[in-house]
Amino acid sequence: MNWQFWIIQTLNSVAFGGLLFLLSSGFSLIFGLMRIPNLAHGAFFMLGAYFGFSLLQLGFHFWLAAIFGGLGVGVLGVFVERFILRQLAGNEQGQVLVTLGIAFIIADVCLLAWTGDPMPLPAPQSLRPPLRFGGFAFPTYRLVVLAIALVVAVVLYLLMERTRLGAMIRAGVDDMEMARGVGIPVSRLFTTVFLLGATLAGIGGVLGGPILNAYPGLDADMLPLALIVVILGGAGSLMGAFVGSFIVGFLYNFGIALAPDLAYFVLFLPMVLVLVFLPQGLFGRAQT
């Protein structure tokens, strides 16, 4: 274990953190606004990876596959919100359980459509040769994934802080009743946020494909990570999702590299600490 190991693992950790951010930022926004943890989010991520795989097989360019794969999942998300969750308005407990049912259906349909074998998604040709820098070989693709995650983070930040839509979402997160009262179309916001969250999860799935592969069980592997990110960062907080993603990315990646037996246990510790000392999460606001 020389210093080279540490540098490569650190890079892997930040790249994984970037993927987690794509997954959990949408999850966190949905949770903050609609008050429900969308338990289908891991399934959305996996579906994105499989969509990406098929689009690549059809000969699409990688980035187009990422965009279309993400949008495909986004459309499904809108469908779920409009036709299923909308029916259960006011029954948050029912909504959560329905998203779990949907997660099972998506996972099983994926198994049927793409079989149980892991499907590798090749990284784009131009990014395959490693980047050489001072005698080091960095995996280029992971750096690009990290860069994309950072760009998405900035765009989401601007969207939330600088646009009318973002202001409406923040108002909804802070006080739903009041937001409705001043005439913000909250139910349309639900659909928008669900579209945004599902699309980001889908894009994350395609981008994660070359690193993780698409395989059955990817959903169950990713969902708890998203949950822990949001528990750490606080629901509805973009900053929380950002910081939480990189913390979890580091812990999980180094956990697997150094003590594979205990990788999950390592995740448990920060969760316990945050829950005991800061139950609202690092960046969450107290909710009444």
């Binding site: 943890p37 259960l88 959560v96 359980l97 779990l100």
Partner: protein
């Protein structure tokens, strides 16, 4: 208890005791044991869900803690009773810790944390190869011999399960009817008022969580004794979801609901699994349909239907009476 309830209970008890003679075939007797084990799981998760309004998606975690502890201790050479008691104690302590953590978050954060905890137990079971055998799982050496009675064959194991189930059912029934159960329902419906009345809402919920964990662990031991094998697949999220679905399908606000839900889900699952290998799509569909169209479950739904029919008949009789009298 009314006289009718006593009669129903006695009839059910007689039927359950006579079941091995009625069905005869070993496969179906084993299926009946499975139903009882799942019914106990569903009853225990329903202590939180039905009376406390707390939705836990980590209940299979107890299967992990109690199950692996029992197997590892037995394999290490401890006798079955010591292993069982130690496993129950460990798992109940784990429930205490999980309860403290899960109850830190308000409302639906509870689901999220229980799910994360359950998945962490699953992840440890899956990854910690040296301890749990990873994906291959562990097998339990042999079924115990309670009071020297051999429970290796299907019908004697069924009776063993039935006895444990009856004891558990009695305690859970007492729990639901006790002042504590009433205060738990109070914390579900009116937490703020309960606090004003001087109840410690957190403590009531936590104790319920621990009790549910204890009975879940008892069911876990039965599960291990029945299968003589435990692998991470048994503690996946799907397991927790199935258990929860049993309670909701049957009717979470009742005591009979989870039992009926467990019977239906276990039978459907067994029937389907003879045709297809996995039944996740069906599980998901049942989930969506039950929650959208039968949110209160079968038992309260049927009861309502029955009452409506009953009152209509009575209404008819009342309407008919004046015509007949002159």
């Amino acid at each position: 208890m009314t006289r009718r309830a006593v009669i129903t209970l006695v009839v059910c008890a007689v039927l359950l005791v006579a079941l091995p003679w009625i069905i005869g075939h070993e496969f179906y007797i084993n299926l009946a044991s499975q139903v009882l084990i799942y019914a106990l799981f569903a009853l225990s998760v329903n202590m939180m869900l039905g009376f406390g309004g707390m939705v836990s998606l980590g209940h299979a975690g107890y299967l992990g803690v109690a199950g692996y502890a029992c197997i590892l201790l037995t394999t290490a050479g401890y006798d079955q009773l010591t292993a069982a008691i130690a496993a129950l104690a460990l798992s109940t302590v784990a429930a205490g810790v999980f309860g403290v953590l899960s109850l830190r978050a308000p409302g639906l954060g509870f689901i999220m944390i229980t799910l994360a905890l359950g998945q962490i137990v699953w992840g440890i079971a899956y990854r910690a190869n040296n301890l749990t055998g990873g994906d291959n799982g562990l097998s339990h050496p042999a079924r115990p011999m309670p009071f020297g009675i051999d429970i290796r064959d299907a019908s004697s194991f069924y009776y063993f399960t039935l006895v444990v189930f009856a004891v558990a059912l009695f305690f859970i029934w007492r729990f639901a009817r006790s002042p504590f159960g009433a205060s738990l329902t109070g914390t579900r419906d009116q937490p703020r008022r309960m606090r004003m009345l001087g109840h410690n809402v957190w403590l009531i919920r936590w104790l319920t969580f621990v009790l549910a964990g204890f009975w879940g662990s008892v069911a876990s031991l039965l599960f291990v004794y029945y299968n003589l094998y435990l692998s991470p697949h048994a503690l996946a999220l799907q397991q927790s979801a199935e258990i929860l679905l049993m309670a909701i399908l049957g009717g979470a606000s009742t005591l009979t609901g989870p039992i009926i839900g467990a019977a239906i889900i276990t039978l459907v699952k067994n029937m389907v699994s003879t045709y297809v290998e996995r039944w996740n799509t069906l599980l998901g569909l049942i989930f969506v349909i039950v929650i959208m169209f039968m949110p209160y479950g079968l038992v309260p739904g049927c009861r309502q239907l029955w009452q409506r029919l009953h009152s209509r008949q009575k209404g008819k009789a009342a309407n008919a009476a004046p015509e007949a009298s002159p």
